[in-house]
Symmetry: C2
């Protein structure tokens, strides 16, 4: 009976028919329970990949996965839980700045983040550059922290949307990762299980992102906003560029340094702008900013970065989660690589490309990331890019600074980084490609 049903469901999707909410729930629940074997789920994923899913199917899949484990309820401690999610990028340390910035405006943030994989970094790995910082926070402590401090950053528990964890691992080894309905439901299931009432999605487009083009990213964003509408969560999706790294630093400690610089009113302009826009949208969703016009809140956000208010909240979070505040106050105390050396430009010209993926892979090879789940990362190593697409470079100027463990690592990185560049004789790339929202 069980086998009959799962094969029928696979065949129905294979033939391009729409699955009912009941069929999707049956399939996900039985897969999670181990009654449906991996090979059937793999065939189903490939059928979904090639035949797609309707809005209703995607919503059903999202909720089936969200409800496959613990559903966190933050309503005891928060009137409105606002969350953000980035689809994964290179140099994306946005959470480190946006969380304090939002909390500084009186909107408490209780966020769960993940770890890096392959060429994309993870917020937890970055934060753990700070000695003692712990993201391993039990549910009750999580609620206490947000109630007391207005800010908490925890690791995702395995109990959150376990169906998504299982299905993602299977998709990873069956060529079925880059399916928009599967990506959308994977992201949204975790956010919904995490208890978010409002979600700002940062959907990356470009060489360093899952979605290579802005059109693909917009399609993915539309699906996720549609899920939000379907399940009664406020969702704003921002499509942002990931053809070059966000900001300048790619690694762990180097990114923490850049985030702290940004909260000291310094930091790269593109990254600062990115953080202001994301924080503004989060505050809008939470009802703390004018719905109609982000420009109303911009001056106060800029001030909170410049006058140390955001950094004060960040420091409070680090302290509450066991981190060494001295490393935040004196960035020289953060982990340092044994070898820090520039890559010098041998030519002059404008940069037409600073390939995000290649720079991410370079940081991975230096040891900043992990090729497989569970591997340790080196917090000290990484890359800082001194150049952005469209900028003018003169021969003899530094293009990158490499933070490496050995001479050999530096040499390897040097060649990789030069290979990430393409030259031209004029400017740029947009920072954002658009905004979609349930709050139109």
């Amino acid at each position: 009976m069980e086998r009959m049903n799962s094969v029928t469901i696979i065949a129905k999707k294979r033939d391009g028919e729409e699955l009912s909410e009941r069929e999707i729930r049956y399939f996900i629940e039985n897969y999670t329970a181990g009654n449906i074997p991996d090979y059937q789920a793999a065939a189903w994923c490939m059928a979904v990949f090639l035949k797609g899913m309707s809005r209703e199917e995607t919503i059903a899949l999202t909720m089936a996965m969200a409800e496959s484990g613990e559903m966190i309820n933050l309503s005891e401690v928060l009137d409105f839980a606002v969350d953000k999610h980035s689809s994964g990028g290179v140099g994306d340390k946005t959470t480190l700045v946006v969380l304090p910035l939002v909390a500084a405006n009186g909107v408490p943030v209780a966020k769960m983040s993940g770890r890096g994989l392959a060429y994309t970094g993870g917020t937890l790995d970055k934060m753990e550059s700070i000695r003692g910082f712990s993201s391993d926070i039990p549910p009750e402590r999580f609620k206490t922290l947000v109630a007391e401090n207005g800010i908490v950053l925890a690791g995702q528990t395995n109990d959150l949307a376990p169906a998504d964890g299982l299905l993602y691992a299977l998709r990873d080894v069956t060529g079925t990762v880059s399916s928009k309905p599967l990506i959308a439901s994977s992201i949204m299931s975790k956010k919904i299980a995490g208890g978010a009432n409002g979600i700002v999605l940062d959907v990356k487009a470009g060489s360093g992102a899952f979605m290579r083009t802005a059109d693909d990213a917009r399609d993915l964003a539309k699906i996720m906003v549609g899920i939000g509408e379907g399940v009664g969560r406020k969702v704003t999706a921002i499509i942002s560029d990931m053809n070059q790294p966000l900001g300048r630093a790619v690694g762990n400690a180097v990114e923490v340094r850049e985030a702290i610089h940004t909260m000291r009113g310094e930091g790269p302009p593109d990254f600062r702008e990115h953080c202001i826009v994301l924080a503004g949208h989060m505050l809008r969703l939470a009802g703390a900013a004018n719905k109609a016009d982000l420009s109303d809140i911009r001056p106060s956000l800029e001030a909170q970065l410049d006058d140390g208010t955001a950094l004060e909240v960040f420091t409070r979070m680090v302290k509450a989660q066991g981190g060494d505040v001295a490393q935040v106050e004196d960035l020289g105390k953060l982990p340092q690589a044994p070898l820090i050396r520039d890559v010098i430009s041998e030519r002059s010209g404008y940069l037409r490309q600073v390939d995000a993926k290649r720079i991410g892979l370079c940081a991975l090879d230096l040891g900043a990331g992990r090729a497989k789940k569970g591997e340790p990362v080196d917090h000290a190593v990484g890359v800082v890019a001194h150049v952005k697409v469209g900028e003018k470079v003169e021969a003899g100027e530094p293009l990158f600074t490499v933070h490496a463990r050995t001479e050999d690592d530096y040499t390897h990185a040097h060649n990789q980084l030069l290979g990430a560049l393409e030259w031209s004789d004029r400017p740029g790339l947009p920072l954002f490609y658009g905004v979609l929202s349930t709050e139109a």
Copy 2:
């Protein structure tokens, strides 16, 4: 590395690209060796199902599966090995008549057959209605028998195209059975591994067949003839009707009885004609009949059925393989069901439909078939249809004779059989839908 490759191969097929011979061989060899897990093979099968395969890919898959185990070489004992294969049907006892008929014309036949599954019967199950008949014949004995007797009918060894066995079992539970390139390569891989130089394929079309329409069957036939051309085997494919049972008997002993009747010059005209056409094509491929015109050999084939020559060869085969010849000579000695009773027509009219699949399912429920691999079958039970599509029936005439174990079984069969009929007021269905051949 291995994992990388298999995922890359899955993704390539998923994206509709053509796989190289090397990639297909890598995938099949590693799947057979257990290095590629079922879930990856399942995703791959679904991608093949939905994206199809080119002629070159299908040939590569066929040969990779054929060469995954033992390759039988009959050239020591046969100048030219001619084989036949039916795509599976209801009441298809053709092999029982065609093998002796071909052998009677001086062309030795060394055939491997399978067992029945679900509503389709299997040659071995039918032959085992004869007490003592054994199809479990080791390779050396197989060769001796054909050399000495000119005829042998054995069970397929598990060593023959083991990759196909594994892949078929996986397709069965992942909704990926009814893919033409996968069906074509499955059939052809076993025939090629079995050592056939010439193959006559009987591709069924209709309610009782994998292929529901003659167009689908023709497409499948074209692919298999293409494989034959590609690998240098002579192949003739006949597209034949399976909307109603072939002949009248459906079961095991009842089919043996009908086959022997046919070799006594009796038997249903449609089945007799089917056997003559198939035997003619096999003799053509073996060079023992005129290539241009089957009608040259028809009179002698008819004579060999009418004068007992074919039956003599059949009897010789039964004896050589340990069967009780007394049961061939006296059909009353074949297994008999405890209850043999007619289903009487309550109305008059022409028959518009005598649904092959429903009659096959009725025989299965009576105990003549197996729902799952490995289950035993009852040789005595079955159904004999007295009516064919297009025939006139008067109220009070017998429609079927049911051979059952119990009253309850009879009642169940009675209702199933009446449900298999649709009535009208005029004639028929074609016997064949066409012929395709490498020998045009």
